[in-house]
Symmetry: C3
Subunit: 201 residues, 3 copies
């Protein structure tokens, strides 16, 4: 159980009363101890979204395979859409995309984004994505994984960060995607605003 304001108040009161009535203080603390000996029920606390323990922006570049660009392609459709609607329902894409600190996809990558996404809506373009950022530089070694619905037609969307390893061991948080640039079927760039709220390293 976390140490709350109520506990502080108890201590405060106890200190004030210390010279007055030791026995009363004793029984108060005994009561608290008994109450606290229960199981943990659950964690319920508001999170200050403005104060992540780590916050940084990265750019994610996807170059789709079109059978002619094997040298440059970083992602490919592996299951074709099935014709349920006209928004690619059922299409699955696997990727291993470079991740950079600026918008230039020729910049030295600081990570690779490895994962897949698929289209799952009949009435608009909408994807579900699972993606691990793999860092292997002098600055960062480790991974963390993003997974969530990705309603691409919205200007920004929040996706869950659910775990990590190495420098990002056990991390959790939120990644805000915004589609920075789309060039037809060939290339898109995502801005990823990464906010970690649990940092253990």
């Amino acid at each position: 159980p976390p140490f709350t304001n109520q506990h502080y108040s108890f201590l405060l009161n106890s200190l004030n009363m210390a010279n007055q009535n030791y026995k009363q203080v004793f029984s108060f603390f005994l009561l608290i101890s008994l109450l606290l000996s229960d199981n943990v029920s659950s964690v319920q606390k508001p999170l200050d979204l403005k104060k992540p323990c780590k916050n940084f922006v990265l750019y994610h570049h996807n170059i789709a395979y079109d059978t002619d660009n094997a040298a440059n392609a970083t992602s490919s459709t592996v299951v074709n859409p099935l014709g349920l609607g006209t928004f690619d329902f059922g299409k699955i894409v696997i990727f291993n995309n470079p991740v950079t600190t600026d918008e230039n996809f020729l910049s030295e990558p600081v990570a690779r984004a490895q994962g897949f996404f698929f289209y799952n809506q009949k009435t608009t373009y909408n994807t579900w994505v699972a993606c691990t950022l793999v860092f292997n530089s002098t600055q960062h070694k480790g991974t963390f994984t993003i997974m969530d619905a990705n309603p691409m037609t919205q200007p920004t969307r929040d996706l869950s960060i659910i775990g990590g390893t190495g420098d990002f061991i056990m991390t959790r948080g939120v990644c805000t995607f915004s589609t920075d640039l789309i060039q037809g079927q060939k290339y898109f760039r995502l801005k990823m605003d990464i906010k970690l709220y649990e940092c253990y390293n």
Copy 2:
């Protein structure tokens, strides 16, 4: 480090001794401070399963695409079973299913369940599922993601809730699935009993 009963006892004892021996108290606290300055080793505490911070029941409706029902279908097989056994091993289904607060699939959806599942057993029907509930109503905005094995032949099965965004930011918990109704290959309804044990909003 969490504030435990032991710490309370120390404080309690310290208060009792306060007028007797300040130096002893001082060294006790110094000892505690030194002990607590270590790294966090790990979290080990029992969870009272009867006290989630949020608990609600939703119904998940899956209408399978059969090539004739494009208007109504909400899910579709995208990879066919490969013939390893007779329980659909290898079949992959992508869905975007309505989620309602009661059993009627015509009720106004409160969320969409977006994700996929696949069959992975030779000897019985058994799936593995990943699924994000996307809430976009006046009551709730946000997402959380369920992921786990789903042994469909058992009357109830627990699946992990691993993260979320918006109203469900960083949430974790357990979702108990029970198959409410199956109508051949065309329709099934899942009851989802959602218990969140970490709530930050």
Copy 3:
């Protein structure tokens, strides 16, 4: 907010001053209470990697389906590689593999590993994996899920454990994979060194 050394110091100082100046103590505590009444900003603490709350080693056996071994096969390719490079980019495998406590794949399984992986690199063998360990023995009932990039050519690699149910409810941690044995395309064995840092059961 966790109870830190700073809080201890405050209390310590307060106790020391208790008989000297009650009003000063009072205002100090009032200040602390006000500071602590803010929202939780984030969790930032180092994790002692040597002290998991649970640590055990399991072996994961994968027998690939080759159309002739339906009786023994525990995994199968469900989407074939697409020819982008020569390292199986795009190949998806679904598995339901036995997990044992020793290296012998004929030992009584203590769990099944259910999930999928896919190849996602043009220049070497590299996979991304999602996998739930399903325990159903007298010793353990429950599940936990592993998910991460799996750079198979490295001797060891850390993967995130992101959640669980039953005996492993809400668990988190890291699983270190090492490829123990490969027999061509037919069989491989993974050693899984499982370290849980959040245990609620």
